[in-house]
Each structure stands twice: as C-alpha cells, then as structure tokens.
Amino acid sequence: MIHSLFLVNSSGDIFLEKHWKSVVSRSVCDYFFEAQERASEPENVPPVIPTPHHYLISVLRHRIYFVAVIQSEVPPLFVIEFLHRVVDTFQDYFGVCTEAAIKDNVVVVYELLEEMLDNGFPLATESNILKELIKPPTILRTVVNTITGSTNVGEQLPTGQLSVVPWRRTGVKYTNNEAYFDVVEEIDAIIDKSGSTITAEIQGVIDACVKLSGMPDLTLSFMNPRLLDDVSFHPCVRFKRWEAERILSFIPPDGNFRLLSYHVSSQNLVAIPVYVKHNITFREGSSQGRFELTLGPKQTMGKAVESVLVSSQLPRGVLNVNLNPSQGTYTFDPVTKLLSWDVGKINPQKLPSLKGSMSLQAGASKPDENPTINIQFKIQQMAISGLKVNRLDMYGEKYKPFKGIKYMTKAGKVPEGRRDEAALP
C-alpha cells in the first residue's frame, strides 16, 4: 500500500525519507515540487498527484508536507488518515511536530514508522501500544538509559495488541484517579454585510483526559443528546448503546484521547455570540479610504468573550492603513495586505473599536471587492449549542474517581466572513 514516505519542509527540502518496500528514488518528489511551485499558497498543493509510475498523496501539517508514495490502487482517504495519524503520534511523542523535533529524534521517528507500517500496511497505530513498544523520549529516560544501558524499545508484545480493547493497556495504576472531559465547540458561520447569518454550523468535540486505574467502564450521559446531529466515536464507544439509549458507554484509553466529535447543524438555530459593526468605504478618485470596526458581545449568557482576534484581507489597492484601536494592538502587512487586530477580551461596557483611514495606491481605481472579516474568539464555560453532560458513572472498579467537566466555545476556521451583497453579476 504505502511504499515510501518523504517529509518535505516548506522550503522544499526532503529532510526525512523512509521506505517500506524497495527504495523509491527521491526524484519522484520532483513532481510534488512542481505542484508546490504552481500553488500560490502552501495549502493549495493538491493532495493527490499522479506521476508516471507512482501516485503521491500528501498532507500538510505544521508546515511540513508528509508525502506518501503509492504504486497501486488504494483508497486515498486510507493514506491521508494514516498520515494524519503519524503526525498525531509524533506530536504525542515529541510534544510538537516540527522539523527540528523530528530531526532531533530521528531514531525514534524511524522506530515508530517501522512499527506503524509493515510492508506498507498499518500494523500498530494505537498510541498506547506504540508507547509500550517504543518509549517516548524524556530527559530522565535518556539519562537512565546511559547509565544502565537499557533501551527505549520494549521487549514484549504489548498486551493491548492482542486484547479486545487494544486502546487500553492492562495494569494501569494511579494514586489519584481522575477523569476530565472538555467539551469544546467551534462555531463556523458566514455572515453577510447586513449582519444576517448565511450559514452557521457547530462542530464539537469531547476531549478526555482519563487517568483511572484498572479497567474502568464509564458511562457518560447528556441532558440533551438529541442536539447531536451527527457523531463519530473513538473505537472504544459502544455503538449499540448509543443507538439504543443515547449514552456513551466505554472503557476509556489511558490518558488523552478524543472521545467524540459531533456536529450540530444549522437546522438547529445557532446564535452567534458576537456581532460586528463595520464601515469600510473607498471613495472614487481619492486615495483615501475610511475604516471603522466595532465589536460587541451577543447572546453569551453573561460569559466573557476572550482572546478575540480580528483579521481581514484588505484589497490589493490598499497601500497602508493608519488606524486607532480603542484596545489591543493591530498589525498590517503591506505585502500580503493582511490586517490583524488582537483585541483581547471584550468589555460589554466599553466596546472595542478600530477606526482610521487607509491610503490607497494613487491613481488606482476603487477596489470593487469588499474585504471579508474573520474573527477568532473563545468563550469559557459555555457550549454554544447548549449541550450539557448529565452525569458520568463508573463501573467495574471500586475506587471513587475525581470527575471534572469543562465547556468552551471557540470560533472555528472562519467564524464570520462579512461579505458584500451585490446585484446580480
């Protein structure tokens, strides 16, 4: 299936290669570089590139391209999912997945890749199994290994590999038994110039950090499970029970994992928690434009809107801006024309605003497109969809665990695109 893997950094250098079958010359990546050159933005490189003898499937994460070389038919999603899993594993092992981290840990990376694929077919991808086979590098362990001569490589087949619950290893022990669940929702909306919502969707995940001894069997129930429109589970969740009772019943993996991701569609009315008042005008014939922007909270149930970041791609004709923020700081990149304003927290009593003028290229005509405005924000202790966890029960073990749950709402990839509504083209 997967023949080889090349890691390519943003400047187009191959800094790691790994082959699972016979060696494929790295010149195969030339086709990739061609596509990379053609693409205006890094993310515009097409994920699947055919070459005369191979197919290249790539993912871009942390500004590294993971390019897999395929020789014959295979579902592309299979490869893409696997590559993402590789990145997740690296992140899990090294904390970050950067070129430097990979280079520093090249031996561990190689050992991992060796275990994850056999002859191009995934062998062990569960992080707890991998961690038993190859221990993650820590300073302490490096020190101990130097003294005792022991190794990072496990000598026994991880028990999880053979069990029905491959995601959990046996014999887990903690002194403090804790289970934390974070309900994180991202709101994704497009809003038109006049402020009405064109589309809004909520993507949510429940990330868990479970540190419980033994083999606990947990059930998590919601107050309003009907809200969830579409769900996908970690393999540990018992699908049947969800279908029958809308209860999440599972034997959790040890440590951090994503229990559930869900989707609340626009059919259920979504309230956008912030609003924007804006006035961006360019006058014909003059080299000046006016820029005004005010933010305010809306339907936040009294919770503060934090870490607000506004960014806008101004038209190409804009040379520079001279703005005055009532709070926070702003930057404008004259090359990419990207304006970003770090607002911070919104104070409902004194709404943050950004006002001033833009200078346009002399003689250039009035830009005909209206800029879109993107907003990022966070709201703690609130799930915008109204999802509430009812209770968490544990069976199978005797101790009393400490349970915690946290809610958060974030703006998704593109929270609000303010866009122009014009007459028919």
Partner: protein, 1004 residues
C-alpha cells in the same frame, strides 16, 4: 546528574548533518565524561564523510554495546536523510544477533534498506532469523519474520516460504498477522509462488482472530483477488468480525466485501424504483423491513443484509477512510439514506485533505442524486480560507445541486465569489454560472445579462472567462442577442486574452448575418494585427474571413485574400494547412472540386450548442473513494466493480461447514456480546427444541471454561494456544447435526442467518418480537456458598442476562468458584437438583481447582417463570453442599424490541386481570428519563421502547420460559408521583415485578 550531559551532546552530534566528528564520539562513548562536550563545537570543522564512516565502522566493531548503538543511531540518521551508508554493510550485519533489542531493531532497519544491494552479505544474517523464528517470545518471532520477508533477495524464497507456512500456524495471532503481511512481500518478490501462497491465504482466511482478518484480506486482494471462491466459506465470519477489526483492516475488508456482494447478490436497486424512499428508510427498522420483504418479489439475500447491517456502525468511525468506505459499501448496495448523507456533510469539516477526497465523492454522487445533498446546500458554501482545489470542488457541487427552486440562492452566493480576490476562482465561478444557465432555462437570460455586466470588470481573466461563457450561452439561443454580439465586438479592442479574442471572432463569424455592418469592420481590425496574434486567434480570424467571404464577398473579398496570404506563410503548419483548405473551399477556381459548391453549407451549417456538463459526469464508473476515482483515471491495480448478476449465484456456498466459536482471546467481561454471539451459535448447533440434546454441547463447555481460564491468566501465548487447538476439533460433531437440520427445516436457516447477525450485537428473531441484546447493567453478584460453610470453596453467581446456550427456556447463570483452601479442589460438579418443576443444565465437572484460583462456569436454569428457588447440590470429591439460587423476578425476562405502536397495541390486549398498576412517589432525582430507565433496567432485564413523550417511559420483555410478553410503563406525573403499570398474562409474576419496580423507583 552529570552523566546526562555527554549523552545529550552525543545526540546532537549524531543527528547533525555536519557533526559527528570521529574522535569526540569515540571519546564520549569510552570515557563518558562531561569534558568531551567541550569539543562538540569543534567537531563539525574537521569531519568529512569519509572520516565519519571510518569511525562508524570502528564503533560498530568495538566491544561496547553503547558504542555500537550510538553508531547504529547515526547510521539510521544517515538513512533517513537518504545518504548512502551501504559500505558499512559488513560491519552492521555482524550485529544482527545482538542481545540488545534496540540495537537489533536498528540493524533490522538497516538490513531491510540495503539487503537488496548486498545480497551475498545479507545471506549471512539469514540463520539468525531462522533461529529467531523459533524464539519463545512472540514479538521476536514476529519481527524476525517481518525482516526476513522484507529482505528482497530471491535466493531465500524457499526459506521465506517455509517460514510463512510455519508462522501461519503459529499460536500467536500477532505472528499470524505478520505472516499475512509476509505473503504479499513474497508474492511481489517471486510471483511464481502464487499457488503455494494461495494455500496459506486460504488457511489464514479461516482464522478467527480479528487481528489477522484485515491483513489476510489485504494479502488476498493483492495475490488472488479473483479467487472469490475462497471467500464464500468465510463471508459470514468476516461480516461478523468486521466491527472488531482494527480500523485499517476494516477498510480493506469492506472494499473486498463490496466487490464480493456485487458478484454474489442480486441488485437491490431493481425494485427500489417502485417502492421508493419508504423502503430504504425502513431498511434498518427490521420489523417493517420484514413485512415489506414478504410482500415484494425481491427478497434481499440474508447474507447481503448481514453485510449492510454490520457496516452500519462503521459509518460512525472516527477514521474517515473507514466511514467513507462503509458508505461505499452501502451505496454500492442500497440505502443511500439520510444517514450516509449526514456523515458525508459532517466529513466536510475535517482536515483539508480529507475534505478534498470527500468532496470529490460528493461531486460524483450529487450528479445523480441531487435530493440527497440539497438540504445541506449551505455546507458547500465556499469560505475565503479554503484551498483553491476545495473551492473548485464546492463550486462543482453547488452547480450540480442547482435546481429551479434553489437557483436564486445559489446565484446570489456565486455573485460573492465573482468578487473574490482570487481571480482564478472568480473565473471558475463564471464557468459555473454558465453551466447553471444552460441547465436551467428559466434563468438563462438573467445570467446572460449578469455576465454582460461583468464584461466591464477590470480584471481581464474575469472578462475573458465571461466572453467564453457568453459565447457558449449565445449558441443555445442566438436569435435575440445581436446587441450582445455588438457589445462583444467592441470589447475586441481591449481584450488581450487569446481565448476570449478567439471566442469573439468565432461568435461574429457565426452570426455575421445578424451584424452585417460590424463584421467586416472587425475583420479589418484583426487583419491589421494578424501577424501578432496567437495561433488560436489566427485560426478564428481565418474562419471569420472565410465565412464573411461567403456571405458578403463584395466588402470582404480583398481582406480575405490578404488574410489568406498571410496565413499561407505563417510559421505554424496548422494555420498554413487551414489556409490552404479554406482557400480551396471558398475561392472558386478551375481546379476546385465539387466541394466548393457546398462551401456555404459546410462552413455555415448550424452547429449544435455545446453541452456544458460536469467534469464528474463519468466518474461514477469508478468505485467511490478509490484512487482511480480521485484521479479519474484507472490506477494500476484497480479492481472493477462488476455489474450485479442477473441470477443470484448459489447461496449455499456460504453455509459454513464448521461452526466455530467466536475468537476466544477476548474478555467476556468487557464485551459480553461476543460471548453472546458465541452462545447463540452453540444454541443453534444444539437446537433447543429437543431436550435430549442437552449433553451434546459438552465439548463446547470445555472451551468455555478453558476460555475463562485463559482470559484470567495473563500469559497471552498460552491463551491463544488453548484456543486454536480447541475449536478445530471440538465443533465438528454438533455441526453435522446442525447441517442435517438445515436441510430439513428451512426456517431454521432463516433463524441462522439472523442469528449470525448477533455477532455484531444485532438482534435475533425468535418470536414475533425480536429479542434485543440486554441493556448493560453492572452485574450484581450474589453469594451462593460462603467460604466458611463451603470448607474453603466460595461460590457466587450472577445473571449475565444473555440468552442461555443450552435451551431457550433457561435463564443463564454464571457461577464463579474460588478455592480458598490451600489444597486443590477436585471434581467439582452439580449433584442432585430439585424441585421437580425446575430443570437445570449442569456445568461440566471441574477436574481441578488450584488454591487461590477461581473459575467461571455457566449453567442454565429453567425457572418456569416463577420465583421459586432452584435447589441443587454442589459436590466436590469429598464434600457436598446444598445451595439454592433464588432468581429475582427481573432476571426471568428477556428484553424485546418493539415500536411504540406495537407496545400500545399489545398493551391494549393485556388489560383487566392482566394489568396491575400502582401510583408511587418517586425520588425527585429520578424525574428525568435516564434515571427511570436505568432503575427499571437494573431491576428487570427489559428493553427500552422508544417513546415520543418525555414523561412516559415504556419497557418491554418476554418471559424466558414461556415467552409471554411483559410490558411495563412509567407515567411521570406532577409532584413527584408516577403511575406504574405492568401488563402481562403471568399475573403472579406481574404483581411481583410491580412490587420490585415500585421499591426501586421510590428509592433515592
């Protein structure tokens, strides 16, 4: 703490491309002192590649393990960078037998990389692997096989073959999995081994381990995808294992099974046309489905249904590859229902690359099935941050979904895109508008006007695209649009994009009779600039000249001749060729043949309007989700989906000779349902109708107990060992029995196919209502025999709430026996039992129970639907203890699934005497739905009936012994009161149940 420093600095050295100087590294390793770190900085200066390798060799040949390891790490670093390290081969290969496992692994990495280049030397390592293949540690056996099979040296093919054959029968499923992988490796090395390999594949396909399933199917796909006959016998098993296979295996298995389904089952689409949506919606609702199925001529093969049912949970997988393929399985077969759609729309929100593939699939599907995605139109709105290829795909989908109803919304959205800063995207949008305009005739005029307005846009790419699209649109209805043509003629002065210029020229030439004044003038203008035009424009100029010559030769004769002369000497032979052709065609001379008479008809023939269609139109010839589909070209190794057969092939080929218990290495405590499935199979083997058969499943019992033994012991090798030996011989006997039955009783087969579903926590159809799998409640253990009174033997029991394996009238009970004595207990068995009305199925005699050991056995008791205690004697070699099991009334029930309507109907028939009700005060915290459900279910083994009202909870069950229905409902009322109703024919049982439920619900 100081020893940390050198090790850190060595790391820096080895991974640094320049670093890794010879002396410091050796020094570090030998002395391990912090002083060495000082020289690190200098190291980079005097190291060369040559020197570096020299020192690596030295390190590898030293006696110190740590030095060797360090050297290997650096070598791996070199390999990772793609540097050649092959000259170190002799030095490295010596370490293959090292005791240090990390060193060994790194040597393996090296070997696999370079063995092909250094075949002779690689042979030196073979004996080490052969030895390792016999290692007691399964991990070592597996990795030895992995490396051995990865060494691509043709000479060792026979050794590999032997190793694979041996590993395929290994006790450890993990090793068997590696064997399955090795099959593919050997096949690619030497395709002549195919026949032998197929034998191994056949053997491994029979494997019951979920670990092996994915890998062996992968091997099957690679080596012999056409040998469908190997699948028959394993089809049902694979379907049932599917949910438990790891995600990557699932992808492969679904792909294979989809292909299989296409060849083995009739098309479910045939009847769908008339049955419409109802059927596909009702598909998962098995009650409705059953009725439907009876009333129509097409009856879906139960095996086909099995596949669909088992893929359903996978739709919810976190792995998109799995979930998309699961849908694939569905769409290839049937029921592209709302569920698929929702998952699909959901998928559009993940990683960009995933989005790309999913959107492609949607693009293909949206052509045929607009209705499916139309509700989610807004999900396909383009966001400014999307990558270009995603934007294009979304646009494609929006265009495909456009209908008269939604076109105005879509067009409004398109307007925004046209103004996008990404001009390329804007141009693509204009094309999309053009397509919408041709597809939906109502809006053609609006679109055309809009596009004409856009012609004044400042961006040239946008304008050019508009011209091209307008040209196409005009062709469909040229009559009324001469003013647009005039407008376009004016544009010619400013537009420089060749495609647009060519389009305008063509348009004027084509409709020159509608703009008789302008056309010659345009020709004049382009004649002037002819030499500097692009080829495509030149061709169209020639075209225009020829057409004008034919219609208006008075004004344009000279111009045309001038242009033809220019064309004659053009550099491009296409243009010269066209010139010559046109001259002969239009200019009459003595040599010109009969053709010139028809020149006008040839050149000015009315041309059919171009059909603007989706680029995804023909993509559905490829299976969705495949690489070929993504590329719209057949990738190597793509296996076509065949058409549905017209006549269903023989179904009996899938009947399995040997009914094997489900893989036994699983833990019953964590996934009861597998054991449940196992029980069911046993149930079928020893058909419960005749009590004579009670003794038959005895060998099974052995494997049950060995199973529990195995799962309690921590040694994996042992557990897998006991399993694989046991099931091959133990099951054949009852199976033959079953086969006889099958031929005589067709309905048993029906049940069988349903029962097979149960492997995947599905339901079993026994009576009118299906018994569903029990709602999970933590098992409540009761004491049967105390350690003190049992002279060291402690026995507890619980009701696992699973259908009893021995008879369907029995309640299954699990006993856990623990030996608290310091000597082993021998010959534990069940002695005399009573009272007479109660039948007991005894567990097999436990020959020996070690001190401190415990064992779980199951037995079946037919309580005859009464709460009377079952008394029996537990005997050991020396003692006898009288014990009794008093069942709670709730354990005498089996949950059934039914709809709310059915419930009300049945309840209506069980009134009067059969109804008992009471009003109770409920603990305030139980007022919401879950606590009520949980409390009822923990007391009684009942199934939850979906309720449309929040305040009413309904539960349904049937009694185990006689199968009479037991219905219960809780109606929550104001002020913490509730009305509890129990309806059943068994009035005594009903009133006891009422009492127990009352106590449970009123407790806090």
């Amino acid at each position: 703490m100081w020893s940390g420093a050198p090790s850190m600095s060595t790391n820096n050295l080895s991974y640094n491309e320049q670093g890794g100087g010879a002396e410091p590294a050796v020094e570090l390793g030998q002395e391990s002192t912090p002083t060495a770190s000082g020289s690190t900085a200098a190291a980079g200066l005097f190291s060369t590649d040559f020197k570096k390798n020299e020192d690596l060799k030295e390190m590898l040949e030293s006696n110190k393990e740590s030095l060797k390891l360090e050297a290997m790490k650096r070598i791996v670093g070199l390999i990772a960078k793609g540097k050649n390290a092959s000259e170190l081969f002799p030095a490295v290969v010596k370490n293959v037998a090292s005791k240090n496992i990390e060193l060994k692994k790194l040597v393996y990495v090296y070997l696999v990389r370079y063995a092909e280049e250094q075949q002779d030397l690689a042979l030196l390592s073979i004996s080490t692997f052969q030895r390792a293949l016999k290692d007691p540690n399964q991990l070592i056996r597996a990795s030895a096989l992995r490396v051995l099979s990865s060494i691509r040296v043709p000479i060792i093919v026979p050794i590999m073959m032997l190793a694979i054959k041996e590993a395929a029968t290994d006790l450890s499923p993990y090793v068997r999995k590696t064997a399955a992988h090795a099959i593919q490796k050997l096949y690619s090395l030497d395709p002549e081994q195919k026949e032998h390999l197929i034998e191994v594949i056949d053997k491994l396909l029979k494997d019951k381990s979920t670990l092996v399933a994915g890998s062996v199917v992968m091997a099957f796909e690679e080596v012999c995808p056409d040998r469908i006959d190997l699948i028959h016998k394993n089809y049902r098993k694979l379907c049932n294992l599917l949910v438990d296979v790891e995600e990557w295996g699932q992808v492969v298995i679904i792909t294979m099974l989809t292909r299989y389904a296409r060849t083995q089952f009739l098309s479910p689409w045939r009847e769908v046309g008339c049955l419409g949506q109802v059927c596909s919606k009702a598909f998962y609702d098995s009650d409705v489905e059953k009725e439907k199925a009876d009333s129509k001529p097409y009856m879906m093969d139960p095996d086909h249904r099995l596949l669909l049912r088992n893929t359903k949970p996978l739709l919810q997988s976190r792995n998109t590859a799995v979930s998309v393929l699961a849908q694939q399985g569905h769409s290839a077969a049937e029921s592209r229902n709302a569920l698929c759609t929702r998952t699909r729309t959901h998928l559009t929100e993940r990683h960009q690359e995933v989005q790309y593939i999913v959107l492609q699939n949607i693009a293909t599907m949206s052509i045929q099935r607009k209705g499916m995605f139309e509700p989610f139109l807004k999900s396909f709105y383009v966001r400014s941050t999307d990558a270009t290829h995603i934007k294009t795909l979304k646009l494609e989908i929006l265009t495909n979904l456009a209908t008269e109803a939604n076109i105005s919304t879509i067009l409004r959205e398109f307007q925004t895109y046209v103004k996008s800063q990404d001009k390329q995207f804007a141009a693509t949008t204009i094309q999309a508008i053009g397509r919408c305009a041709t597809n939906i005739s109502e809006i053609t005029d609006t679109c055309l006007n809009g596009l004409v307005l856009l012609l004044s846009n400042r961006d040239e790419t946008v304008v050019a695209e508009c011209v091209v699209v307008i040209k196409k649109l005009l062709q469909t209805q040229p009559s009324q649009h001469s003013d647009i043509i005039k407008h376009m003629a004016k544009l010619l002065d400013n537009i420089t994009v060749p495609m647009a210029r060519a389009s305008i020229l063509w348009l004027i030439g084509e409709y020159c009779e509608r703009v008789p004044k302008i056309a010659p003038d345009v020709l004049r203008k382009v004649a002037k600039s002819f030499t500097s035009e692009e080829d495509i424009v030149k061709l169209q100029t020639l075209n225009l000249a020829a057409k004008l010559y034919l219609t208006n030769s008075k004004q344009t004769k000279l111009l045309t001749q001038y242009i033809l002369n220019l064309g004659k000497y053009d550099q491009n032979y296409d243009i010269r060729d066209r010139t010559r052709f046109l001259r002969q065609l239009i200019v009459p001379n003595e040599k010109s043949g009969a053709l010139s008479k028809y020149a006008k008809r040839i050149l000015l023939a009315s041309k059919p309007a171009p059909v603007l269609e989706s680029a995804f139109k023909d993509r559905d010839r490829f299976q969705l989700g495949t690489l070929s589909h993504t590329l719209n070209a057949k990738a190597s190794g793509y296996l076509e989906l065949s058409d549905w057969p017209t006549v269903a092939p023989d179904q009996s080929v899938r009947n399995v000779e040997v009914m094997e218990p489900q893989s036994l290495e699983r833990q019953p405590s964590t996934r009861g349902s597998d054991l449940f499935a196992y029980h069911l199979l046993v149930l079928l083997c020893s058909d419960s109708d005749d009590a004579k058969e009670k003794k038959r499943p005895k060998p099974k019992l052995d494997s049950v107990s060995s199973h529990s033994k195995a799962s309690s012991s921590s040694d994996n090798t042992a557990s897998s060992g006991s399993e694989s030996e046991e099931d091959t011989d133990s099951d054949s006997e009852p199976e033959q029995k079953k086969k006889k039955k099958l031929s005589s009783k067709p309905q048993v087969r029906q049940i069988l196919s349903f029962a097979l579903n149960c492997g995947c926590k599905m339901c079993l159809c026994v009576t009118a209502f299906q018994v569903s799998s029990p709602v999970f409640v933590p098992p409540k253990s009761h004491e049967l025999l105390h350690r003190m009174s049992g002279k060291g033997l402690a026995v507890s029991y619980h009701f696992p709430r699973q259908p009893c394996a021995y008879s369907h009238r029995m309640v299954s009970v699990q006993l856990t026996l623990t030996n608290g004595r310091d000597q082993p207990l021998e010959d534990i068995c069940v002695g005399e039992a009573g009272p007479p009305g109660i039948a007991i199925h005894r567990f097999a005699t436990i020959e020996r129970l070690q001190p401190e050991a415990s064992i779980t056995v199951s037995m079946g008791i037919d309580f005859n639907d009464s709460t009377q205690a079952a008394n029996f004697q537990l005997c050991t070699k020396t003692d006898q203890f009288s014990v009794s099991i008093q069942p709670a009334v709730g354990e005498l029930l089996m949950p059934v699934t039914m709809t709310e309507q059915d419930f009300l109907k049945e309840q209506g028939q069980l009134t009067g005497m059969n109804e008992s009700s009471v009003t109770i005060t409920i603990a305030p915290d139980s007022m919401s739905s879950q606590p009520v459900g949980r409390k009822v279910v923990s007391v009684a083994n009942m199934g939850v009936v979906p309720s449309s009202q929040n305040s009413i909870h309904r539960f349904a069950a049937k009694t185990v012994s006689s199968g009479s229905l037991v219905l219960s409902s809780v109606v929550l009322q104001e002020a913490s009161t509730a009305k509890l109703v129990v309806n059943t024919e068994k009035t005594v049982l009903g009133s006891v149940l009422l009492r127990e439920l009352k106590t449970a619900l009123s407790q806090g």
